[in-house]
Every structure is written in C-alpha cells, then in structure tokens.
Symmetry: C2
Subunit: 543 residues, 2 copies
C-alpha cells in the first residue's frame, strides 16, 4: 500500500493550513515593547493572483500541467522575498508548467524533451528553499518546474547494511513513517521537515536538528541516481573508498545545476530504545559557549546540543506564554546563579538505555562543573513538541505587522563569539529610519572544530510591501557581509540558491568558483538546469 | 627548535634500516608446510644500480638534485612490482631530478618553472604508495620528482578550534611528536605511518587503524593550500557548510593530478586519558562477522575493531612464535567453544576513564551474548607493539624465498562474506603451475554500512624475477576483478595510482570518469602533473 501525505498545503505561507499557532498575548506584548506597535499589510486573495498568471509559453506535453493555480503553487519558496510576494500577490514570475513524473525513466524523458525544446528546467522538491532555489529566473526560455512529488516511496530497505532507497521527492514525515513501519529511522530533522524532501536535502546539503547522532545529509547520502543532461549518473553504495574524489560530494549541494536527483540511498538506523530532550541553563554566554564546546570536544554522544544567547533565552521564555511558570523558573534560576544573562542549553539523549544513562551522567558532570543548572524534562518536552513549529512563527508575527527572518553560518570555535556579535550588530544597526530590530541567536549544530550560528531577527512592516522588501534587502546584505567578514560559510544548512550566490566566492575562492563552473558546464553545457542558482549569472569566465 | 626524523631509510625495501624483524622458526616452518620450501632470489647491490642511472634530461636548476643516488631513492614506491624492481635492480625508469622545496612559495616557483619547461612533475610524500603513484611514467618529457620532505613542521595549532596546520611533507611520527608536545594528537595511523606523510594521506584518501574514533583522513582534513598549474587554491576552514559541492572532497584523492598539496589543516584532539587494545575470539566467521556488525551498528564508541578470519587467526598465532603460550591459548579457547574455526577480534578502547569503562562494558556484553571469549590484554599489547610492523614482514619472508602482497576493498555488509570468499578464491586459484598460495583476510575498518576487507597472500618466488612478477600480475588482475565483481571499491585505503586505474570506472561509471577528467583538465590542462595516475592514459574522451 502506498502511503500518502495528508497535508493541506497553504498557497501563500508555511505548512499545513490546518495548523495555526497564533502569537500568545504575552509574546505579542513583548514584541510590541521591543519594537513598537505595528500595522499588518493587506494579504492578496488567491483567486485574484490566479487571474494574473500569464499564458504558458511551453509547447504542449501530456505530462505537463499548465493550469494557473498549479503554476502559482510552484512559483515561490519560503524566503522572505517569497513570503512578501505570496502575501502581496506580486509574484513577478511563474513557471510555465509543472510536471510530476513518477519514475526516473519519466524524468529522463521529460529532461530530454526539455533540452530538445530549449526549455529551462527547475527541479523541485518540497519548495521550502529560503534562498531562492526554485524561483523561475528571468528568461526568454519557457520554464518547466519538474516536481519530484510523484516519487515519494521507500523503494528498498537493506536491513543488514542499513541502507534505504527512496524516491527523491519523499518528504520528511513520509521518510520516517515508511521506515518506522519496518523498525528503522533516518533521523534527518531540519525545521522544514514537514515539507522538505530527501532529494532536496541532498541537493542543498542540508542538516537536521539531531545531526550530532545521525550526521548531516553528507554522512547519510550513500549513493543514488541522478538524471543529468549528459546521461544518467549512478552512484553505487560503498561504505568508504579511497578511489579518487568522491562523486557524492559533487552532487551534494549541486542545487539542481548538474542534474535531477531521482533516487536517494541513505544510511538508516534502528529506532532507538529511548530518547529525551532536556534543558539546562548557563549563567552567561561565555560560560555556556565554553561548556558546550568542551562537551562536544569530549565526544559525548548526545543526539543534539544547542545554546541560546541571553536574548534568545529571554525571547523564548516570553513567547512560551506560561507567565506564571516562567516567573517561578526565573526566580529559581536566579537563586542558583543564572540571572538576566542566563543562556539556555537544550540537549538530546538518544540510544539504548545504558548509553542514555552514560550520556546523561557525562552531561550532568560537565554542566555542574561549569556552574550550569539542569531544570528537568518539562522545557525539553516543550521544545520537542514544537520542534517543527518555528516556520509557523512568521504567520503569528505577520498577523500583527511584524516580519521575521533568519540567517545562519558556521565558523571555527575561535571565531564564534565575535561572529555572533558582528552578525547581530549588522542587522541591529541597519534597519534605517531609527527602526528597532529584535535580534537573537543560538548555536545549533556543534562540531569539535566550531559551530553553526543561527540568528533570528524581527522588525516592523513598513507601510508598503516595497518598502518592507527594501528594508529586508539592506538587512540581508549587511548580514551576509558580516558572515563572510567573520570567516563563516554563507550557509551552514540552507544552501546557496540565488540569494547567497553573490557571497560564495569568499569561501570557494576564484579558482574554486571556476571548478564549480566547470562541473556545471560539464553536466549541463546549455545551462538549462536551474540557471543562476549556486553560481551567479550564466557562464563565469573560465580561467 | 625543529624536530627532525632520525630514520635511516632503506633504499630497496621498507622502513628504517635499523629495524630487522626476521621470521621466527615456527613461522617459517608454518609457511614451508603450507607452500613448500623456497629459494630466495639474489638481491642487487646499490652501487651497481646507481651506476645504471642514466643522465638527467632536466635543464639545470639550483634547487634540483640530479645525483643518481637521490634519483634512485625516489624512483619507486612499495608495491610488489616496486619491491621486485628494487631487489633486482631493474628500475626501468628514474626521475630526472628531485627538488625538495621548503615552502609553498618555493613549490609555486618550481611548478611554474616545470610547466614553462615542459617538465612532468610527480608530487612525492613518503614514497610509500602501493599502487604506483610516484613512479615516473614512460615519457619523452623529463621528470621532476617534487618531494615535500622539506615541509615537515607543525606551522600552527589553534587549540580552541582544535585545528593544526602542517607542512604537507610531515611524516606520521613527526605529526604525532610535534602535537604530543602540546598535549594533542591527530590519530591517523595507517600501517605506513612510519614513512607516509600528511599530504600523501590527503592526496590518496587514506585511512588509519583507529579511524573509528578519529575518522578517515576525509574527516580530519579541514582545509589547506594546494599549488595547482592554474594558481593557488586556498581552502579555508569551516566546521561544516551547505554552500555547494565541497572542494576538499575534490582534493582528497586527487593523487597529485590537480596540484601539489603544500599545507594541510587537520582536526586534532587532546591526548586521551587512557587507551588499551584487547583481543577476543568468536567461535567462527559468521558469528564473528555478525558480532562486529552489531557492535558497530550499536554505535559503541570503540577506537578500533577488526575481525580476522580463521586462516588469518591461525597464521597470526603461528607467526607470533610463542609456541607454548599459543598452545595453552588454543586449549583454553577450545574448551570454551572456540576451536579450529575461531576468529580473532581485536579492539581498541580509548578516551577518558569513564568513557573507557562504558565502552568496555558494552563490548563485553556484546561478545558474551555472541558466545565469544575475551582473553585479556596480553594479545592486545602484542598487537599494539607490532602495529606498524606488517610492512617489514615482506623482508622476513623474502629472505626465505617467499613473496607477500595484500589487496583491499570495502563493501556493504550484505556482500562482506561473499566478497571475502570471491577475493580469496581469486588468488588461491590463479598462481598457475599447481603452486599454492597462502591467503588470509581481516575486516579492519568497520562502518555501519559495511566493512573494508584486507586480504594478504603469500606465494613462492619463481626461479627468476620476471616469472615472479608475471605470477603476481596474474594474481593482481584476478584479485582486482574479484573486487569489482563483488561490488567493492578498487581501494578502501591505498588509492588508485597507476595500478588500479584500469578498474576505477566500475565504481565511477563513464559519466563519473568524465567528471574526473574534467577536473584534471581544469587544474592541469597540459597534463604535466603525475600523468597516468588516477585516470588511465592521457585525456579520456570527454563526452
């Protein structure tokens, strides 16, 4: 029996339209106090936008859907410009059609047809990109969005080698559900998990909340099938190899520029015996940072570890809404040395019972030694319940006239604190017109070498969509410049897409950029696949 | 103060000429019983070989050493054909000169000079390749061997981010010695550790005995500097990134075809509080294999785990030489259910004391449940003492007229047993003339997905070098065919070089081979760097 997702997807925002998570009164009061009261901008109606979708430029094809609503629903991702486009109804561009092939063979045929006809092709997974990956580029060529949604099944499970084969369009919940029925799991949990797909994770090199235990997608991706303009690339599974450069590492992060990933083989694990998420507090940032650094460098096999800075801790507790409980918590922690500058640490303990006991005792020892305070499982449970809810926060704030966005990077430990400061300052200081920006940060993916940094910022809508977008552009530019100035990657977990392409050369260098160009030119000499993504513009000069 | 290696290197074999590990009488008797008595072949004298070195074809350069002995000492690696060439004195080809630059700038200058002059360049680390990586190719162009031996220092240590920067020519012992003085270690211990270099490990994607704890070189290599014909490639350090394909993974395994790696940044760790190696026995292969598979899949954080098959177990105990002790061991194990078909398991426990206790208790539980027997620390200590001694075994056998070689791969768990059988059979059945081959195998690098397979085989010298080499060629071809027929990589830890290049397309596919071609052509359009290595012949047709 085929398993199907029951999600009723919003056309102009995040997630399932049955899910509503409005801002709680105390949360709203907190935001208003920080930023001033705000006015929401008016939302467009879908019927009005559908009426504006222009005629398709595609030649007829029996498998291509050119209906306006379908094209509308595949025109944008989840970046802030995408959000503003969807809310205002000003989409700018739509794909000329959407195809949803159900097999690698069908993808092959569509791709060959598109190449022959001079059609631009955008491979489409869950449409959750926050960096403009799936937006139709400005182009004279018609644009076909090639959705992998028809390939959402577990195709094979080798329990001895613990390798599962999935259709590339399988979204997170269906990955886990199909594995769970067999006693296995993948463990890739990005915030976008509800909608994002296994092929999209590979194409954008994504990372999930429990990467400490299960690895980034790089460690999970064992092989698979890619339909490229040059032919079919099959990557066989081998546990490790010294035989030359690793082709998987070229497909990982290829962002649709080298081919359409159709089948993904991943390393899976049996369901764990036990799992809990817990919360502790450190008295201040520097203490907290040193504590989590030492924990990760001591190789304690936690499944998750994150550290919120003081402002995020404060914001998180305010938005939670349980004023009375939170008040008690503040007093309790204050007595134990964790006052206004306290930083929240969230961690996950996963495994068999003896492993969990060992991990917990090690963790407790480190936290105690650093002067931190463990507060039991309640807050950890809260985190677990709402772990995929952050993307809905944009709705809750938008209804009251606020905009929220995030940006992220990863740097070595010796640059973590200065990078956080530089990144926060960049958005705090650049809203213009004396506007306040509420900024907070956490470290969410820790490595012995360094950490990812995830910064969230909230600001008020201007009095028009145009001005709101213009304000965001200034902030995004400042944030991105701050990231590269701090020696960070332009993205630790969201990829490059179109929005980050301008900054990529800072980490790849000119010679490295030329390598990427070469690879794209090799697989797709006509630049039909997702042009403008990953590498800015069309062909860069090859040295 | 600069630390220098005190190794007095053999010109015609492995390692330090002060080290002798002759075969013990019981070991010799065992080999003679298996293969029959043998006659050693006569060794050449160095002076005679030096006299045969032809005039250098290189233009004069103040930094290039063209003395015959220097060229002789850089002409061959450690493959079996290399051994036979060194022992017979029939080297075939020598580099025309050797340069030993002391900085990236000096490498750059030499490389530019060589490109300008049409000189073929072979980057040279420790000269320990067993796949023909550093052998001068047949060519009309003069050949310059570019040794990194002058760059053997720890250049920087960031203890907060745990990143060390080394000159690429730093050999294993000097890597560890320079780190140990600061309280750190790298933990990359291939069998070639005495001589192989950190740059060579990156170029050939190598793996060390304790990769379970410290990772393969892929997990250690954080960035660095590569002097390529197209310019200097700097790879900055970042703990992780989703920003497009990973350039490190293109340099890893590049085998000198894309540039000269001059500086290597690696992830290091503090010295562990405690470490021990221990031995256990499983009653038979299938039980042992299932046991070690379950241990690795249960994520027990051992630092090493290997399983010898019954023949390797037998051979290992015979060669150890302690007849009386071994007799007692056999009887003890026999009583406890581990008889003739018993398989030895060696494992490493490394970390702080509480971690070690936890790991050991988990390990014990698994072994007991599988009907295995732990035998305390003595055999583990023996393994530790001789962990880098295997390459010397070739000397011990050679003196009595026997030849030893190895081959290796990695396959998913569901193919491990059949691959071992196919690989062993390939060499057992193909020596010709009714000759016996003594073959044994172990699994040495375990992954949740599968395992590496390392097979050793011993056979008698023929009555001439030519015939001995011819016999080896037949065996090597049969072994390599068996590997690819089993779905294995042509090398898990030794790279491709020239000897494995013919088999590489089995795992990369035609399209993948074309990608490698593209990359080589991009960095080195004139094919001046190590031609014939990794990719057979000169330019492959680019599709």
């Amino acid at each position: 029996m085929k398993i199907r997702s029951a999600c009723m997807r919003r056309w102009n925002g995040w997630g399932d339209s049955n899910n509503h998570y409005p801002l709680k009164p105390s949360g709203l009061a907190f935001v208003q106090q920080r930023l001033g009261r705000a006015e929401p901008l008016p939302d467009a109606e879908m019927t009005a936008v559908v009426a504006k979708v222009p005629a398709s430029r595609l030649p007829e094809h029996p498998s291509v859907d050119t209906r306006p609503e379908t094209r509308l629903r595949h025109a944008r991702g989840q970046s802030l410009p995408d959000w503003l486009a969807m809310r205002s109804g000003e989409f700018e561009r739509f794909p000329d059609g959407v195809a949803t092939p159900a097999s690698s063979g069908a993808v092959r045929e569509l791709l060959d047809w598109a190449l022959e006809q001079g059609i631009t092709v955008i491979p489409y997974g869950g449409g959750t990109s926050v960096a403009g990956h799936i937006n139709p580029p400005e182009s004279d060529a018609p644009v076909l969005t090639l959705s992998l949604a028809g390939m959402d099944q577990l195709m094979d499970l080798d329990t001895e080698s613990q390798i599962a084969t999935f259709g590339a369009g399988t979204p997170g919940p269906m990955v886990e559900q199909q594995l769970r029925e067999r006693g296995y799991m993948l463990g890739h949990f990005p915030q976008s998990w509800e909608l994002s797909t296994i092929g999209g994770w590979v194409a954008s090199r994504s990372s999930g909340q429990q990467s400490m235990r299960y690895g980034r997608i790089e460690q999970m991706f064992a092989g698979g099938r890619v339909e490229t303009p040059k032919g079919t690339l099959i990557i066989p599974t081998m546990p490790a190899s010294s035989a030359g450069p690793d082709l998987r590492e070229i497909i990982l992060g290829s962002e649709g520029r080298m081919g359409v990933i159709t089948e993904v083989k991943v390393r899976v694990t049996p369901l764990p015996e036990t799992e809990s998420f817990q919360v502790a507090f450190a008295p201040d940032w520097e203490t907290g940072k040193e504590l989590v650094r030492k924990m990760i460098q001591a190789k304690i096999p936690l499944s998750m570890l994150r550290l919120s800075n003081a402002e995020e801790t404060r914001t998180h507790l305010m938005l939670a809404g349980h004023e009375k409980l939170v008040g008690i918590l503040h007093r309790y922690l204050g007595v134990r040395g964790c006052g206004d500058s306290k930083c929240m640490i969230t961690f996950g303990v996963t495994g068999d019972k003896s492993q969990a006991r060992y991990v917990l005792s090690q963790t407790r020892k480190h936290i105690r030694q650093a002067g931190g305070v463990m507060v039991g499982r309640l807050l950890g449970k809260k985190w677990e319940e709402s772990r995929f809810r952050s993307p809905y926060l944009r709705h809750g704030l938008w209804e009251h006239g606020y905009v929220v966005d995030t940006f992220e990077t990863a740097v070595d430990w010796n640059r973590v604190t200065s990078a956080v400061e530089t990144m926060e300052k960049a958005v705090r200081d650049n809203a213009g017109d004396g506007e306040q920006v509420h900024v907070f940060t956490h470290l969410s993916h820790l490595y012995s070498q360094g950490s990812s940094i995830y910064t969230t910022y909230v600001f008020r809508c201007s009095d028009s969509y145009e001005k709101t977008l213009a304000r965001w552009r200034v902030l995004k530019e400042a944030a991105s410049n701050a990231i590269v100035a701090s020696g960070g990657t332009i993205s630790h977990q969201h990829g490059v897409g179109r929005d980050h392409a301008r900054w990529l050369h800072h980490e790849k260098g000119e010679l490295g950029m030329a390598v990427l160009d070469r690879l794209v030119n090799h697989f797709d000499p006509q630049h039909r696949l997702n042009p403008g993504c990953l590498i800015e513009n069309a062909p860069r000069t090859i040295r």
